[in-house]
C-alpha cells in the first residue's frame, strides 16, 4: 500500500456573503490521495471542488475539519511552519495565459519558486531537470524564451515545470487543460499521468467526466459542498449509483454519433451554495426523490464494488 499523502477529514469552509449571509462552500468533505494515485474531483461550478483544493493548500478559511499531510496535522500551522509543506504540495493553475508573467523568461519563471523557498544549490540543474520532466526538451530550446513565444500547451508545461522545480510529492491541478486546445490536452494529461506513475500524488479538479474517466484512479463527485459519490474510476463511470452522477454521465456528449445514450437532462439551474435545500441537497432536481429525501440528509454509504460509496438511500 502506497503512503497516504493528503488526507482531508470532514472539511467545512464557509464564506461570508453580504451583511449576514453565509455560504457553506464545503460542507463535510473527506478524501485522501496516496503516492502514485490520481484522484479526480468532479462537479459543476459552485460545487466546492476548487475551494476544497484551496483548503488543502491552506488557502481557504477552514471552519472545521482536519487537513493532514503525510500524517502530520497541518490544519492550524502558522505560515512559517507551512513553508516546507507548501514546497511538497504544488498547485497547477487553469490558465497558462494568465498564470505566467509575460515579462519573465522561462528560466526566471521556473527559478522563482527556488528563490522564494531559499534553495541556493544547483539552481541551474534544478531548472533544467524540471523542464525536462515537464517535457520541454532540450531545455536550452526554452530557457530564454518568453511566454508569448510559446504555444498554450508549452506554457502549461512551463507552469508545471515551475511546480516541479521544488521536487514536490504532490500536485493539485485545477482544470489543467480546460483552457487548452483539444489537440494538446492529451499531452498535458499524459504528462500528469507520467508524474503520477513516477510516484507523485495528483488531485485533479475537473468538470470533464471523460477526462476523469480516462486518467483518474478514483473519482469523487461533488454536489453543493458534499461528495455524493466516490470510488474507483471504472466503478463510478461504469456503475454509477447516485442519481446525480447518473444524470451527469448521461449528458456527457459522446464522440460516436451512434452512441447517443439516453440523456437525462436535469431541469433548473446549477445549484447555489448560498441556498442549500433541506434533507438531501439534491432532492429538488432528483428524478427518483421520495418524501424522506426532503428531510433525511444521507451520508456516504457503501454501494456496489469495494471502495465505492454513494450518499443516497436508493443507491
Amino acid at each position: 500500500m502506497s503512503e497516504t499523502l493528503l488526507e482531508i477529514e470532514d472539511l467545512v469552509v464557509r464564506y461570508r456573503q453580504g451583511r449576514k449571509g453565509v455560504v457553506q462552500a464545503v460542507d463535510g468533505v473527506s478524501l485522501s490521495v496516496a503516492a502514485g494515485e490520481m484522484v479526480a474531483l468532479v462537479g459543476e461550478s459552485g460545487c466546492g471542488k476548487t475551494t476544497t483544493a484551496q483548503a488543502a493548500m491552506r488557502m481557504a478559511p477552514i471552519a472545521s475539519g482536519r487537513i493532514r499531510y503525510r500524517g502530520a496535522d497541518i490544519t492550524a500551522l502558522g505560515s512559517g511552519a507551512l513553508r516546507p509543506i507548501r514546497r511538497e504540495l504544488q498547485l497547477i493553475f487553469q490558465d497558462p495565459y494568465e498564470s505566467l508573467d509575460p515579462r519573465f523568461r522561462v528560466r526566471d519563471t521556473v527559478l522563482e519558486p527556488l528563490q522564494i523557498h531559499g534553495i541556493a544549490d544547483d539552481r541551474e540543474g534544478r531548472v533544467r531537470r524540471a523542464l525536462e520532466r515537464a517535457g520541454l526538451t532540450p531545455p536550452e530550446l526554452y530557457l530564454d524564451r518568453y511566454p508569448h513565444e510559446l504555444s498554450g500547451g508549452q506554457r502549461q508545461r512551463v507552469s508545471i515545470a515551475a511546480a516541479l522545480a521544488l521536487e514536490p510529492t504532490m500536485l493539485l491541478a485545477d482544470e489543467p487543460v480546460s483552457m487548452l486546445d483539444v489537440s494538446v490536452r492529451a499531452g498535458i494529461l499524459g504528462l500528469l499521468d507520467g508524474l503520477r506513475a513516477d510516484g507523485l500524488g495528483v488531485l485533479m479538479i475537473t468538470h470533464d467526466l471523460s477526462t476523469a474517466a480516462h486518467y483518474a484512479d478514483r473519482i469523487c463527485v461533488m454536489y453543493l459542498g458534499r461528495i455524493v459519490e466516490e470510488g474507483p474510476a471504472a466503478e463510478v463511470i461504469g456503475d454509477p449509483r447516485h442519481p446525480y452522477t447518473k444524470a451527469l454521465l448521461s449528458v456527457v456528449p459522446r464522440p460516436d454519433p451512434d452512441d447517443a445514450g439516453a440523456p437525462e437532462i436535469l431541469r433548473g439551474e446549477t445549484p447555489n451554495p448560498a441556498d442549500v435545500p433541506t434533507g438531501c441537497r439534491f432532492h429538488p432536481r432528483c428524478p427518483v426523490a421520495q418524501d424522506r429525501c426532503r428531510t433525511d440528509d444521507p451520508a456516504l454509504a457503501p454501494a456496489g464494488a469495494a471502495g465505492h460509496r454513494a450518499a443516497c438511500p436508493y443507491a
Partner: protein, 318 residues
C-alpha cells in the same frame, strides 16, 4: 434550394507592413432548411472569421471574396448594401460569450425590445409582447423580461442571447461556441434547445465549436477546418467511422471518450502561420501518414459517396 450556400469564401486581413493574413482560404458549405452543420477545428483555424464574413461583420481591415447565397441571392456581392437587408432578418448570429455581453444597467427585455423597435418590426406594447414570446420560445417565462442580466444565471442569459438572435425570425442561425463556459448540465439544456428550435422552426444552423463530441451529438453533418480550409466534410457518422483525412481521425483520437478504452493522443506541433503562403498540405508537418507528395503539392479532392469530401493525398481513407 439550400437555405444557405457558401462558395469559395476567402478572407484576408491587412497586417502592418503591407503583409496579409489569409484567414479563410476558399471554403464551400451548404445547408438545407432545418439542417444542423458543425464547423469544427482548433483555435485560429478560421471558423469564427468565416461565419463573421457570412454576416458581413468583419472589421474594415478585412477583405472578403466569394459568394454567400441566401435563398439563391448572393448577399456578399454588393457589400454592406446587399448584406444589411438580410442581416438579423434572414441570417442571425449568437456571438461567442454572448451571455456576458448584456448591458448590466438595462433589463434583459429592453435589450431584446430595442432592436425590434429599431428594425421596425414592432413597437410599444406589441414589442413587449413579442419579447415575452421570444423568451418563452427559449424556455424563460415572459414575465422575467423586466429583470436585469445579473438576476439571470449564465444558462438563462445564453437562452436570452439566443432569443435575441431569433427576434426577426431568421432562416439561418450561426452559433459560435454557444455552450463554452457552461456547466455540462446547462450545456445539455442549451443543446436540446438549439436542436428543438431547428426542428420546430425549420431553422438551418451552423454550430461553431472546438468540441467534436458536441457536434457528433447535435449535428447531422460537419465540416472540419484546418488552416483556413475545410479539410473534410461529411455526415458526423462518416467523419467518426470512416474519416478520409488524418486530421479528422487525429482530432477524434485526441478526444477522451467516457467509456472508451483506447489511448488518447495529442496532435504534435501547431497549425501553420497564415501570413505566409503554404506549400503542399498545411497539415503535413503534423500528420502521422504524411508521405512524399504531402509537403510538395496541394492535396487533391477525394470523395467517398455523396457529400463526403476531403483534401488529402491519401487514397482509400485516413
Amino acid at each position: 434550394m439550400s437555405a444557405l450556400a457558401v462558395e469559395d469564401l476567402h478572407v484576408w486581413f491587412d497586417l502592418p507592413g503591407g503583409r496579409e493574413l489569409h484567414a479563410v482560404q476558399g471554403i464551400d458549405l451548404a445547408l438545407e432548411p432545418g439542417e444542423r452543420l458543425g464547423l469544427v477545428g482548433e483555435s485560429g483555424c478560421g471558423k469564427t472569421t468565416a461565419i463573421l464574413a457570412m454576416m458581413g461583420l468583419l472589421p474594415p481591415s478585412a477583405s472578403v471574396a466569394g459568394r454567400v447565397l441566401l435563398g439563391g441571392e448572393d448577399i456578399l456581392a454588393g457589400g454592406d448594401r446587399t448584406m444589411r437587408p438580410h442581416r438579423w432578418t434572414d441570417i442571425a448570429m449568437v456571438f461567442q460569450g454572448a451571455m456576458n455581453a448584456f448591458d448590466p444597467v438595462k433589463t434583459v427585455g429592453s435589450q431584446i425590445t430595442e432592436p425590434l423597435e429599431r428594425a421596425g418590426i414592432a413597437s410599444g406594447r406589441a414589442a413587449r409582447a413579442r419579447t415575452a414570446e421570444l423568451l418563452e420560445l427559449v424556455g424563460i417565462s415572459g414575465e422575467r423580461q423586466d429583470r436585469y442580466p445579473h438576476e439571470f444565471s449564465g444558462g438563462m442569459r445564453q437562452r436570452a442571447a439566443i432569443a435575441m438572435a431569433l427576434a426577426c425570425e431568421p432562416k439561418v442561425l450561426l452559433a459560435d461556441e454557444p455552450t463554452t463556459a457552461l456547466d455540462v448540465m446547462v450545456q445539455a439544456q442549451i443543446l436540446e434547445l438549439l436542436v428543438r428550435l431547428t426542428d420546430e422552426l425549420g431553422l438551418a444552423m451552423i454550430l461553431v465549436t472546438h468540441d467534436l463530441p458536441l457536434v457528433s451529438q447535435a449535428c447531422t453533418r460537419a465540416a472540419v477546418m484546418y488552416a483556413g480550409r475545410i479539410a473534410e466534410t461529411g455526415t458526423t457518422r462518416e467523419l467518426h467511422h470512416a474519416p478520409l483525412h488524418p486530421y479528422t481521425r487525429m482530432l477524434f483520437q485526441a478526444t477522451p471518450d467516457l467509456r472508451g478504452t483506447g489511448a488518447v493522443s495529442s496532435i504534435p506541433g501547431a497549425p501553420p502561420r497564415l501570413d505566409e503562403p503554404t506549400v503542399g498540405c498545411p497539415f503535413s508537418p503534423r500528420c502521422d501518414r504524411a508521405f512524399a507528395p504531402c509537403a510538395a503539392t496541394r492535396p487533391p479532392l477525394r470523395t467517398a459517396g455523396t457529400g463526403h469530401l476531403a483534401h488529402c493525398h491519401l487514397e482509400g481513407g485516413a
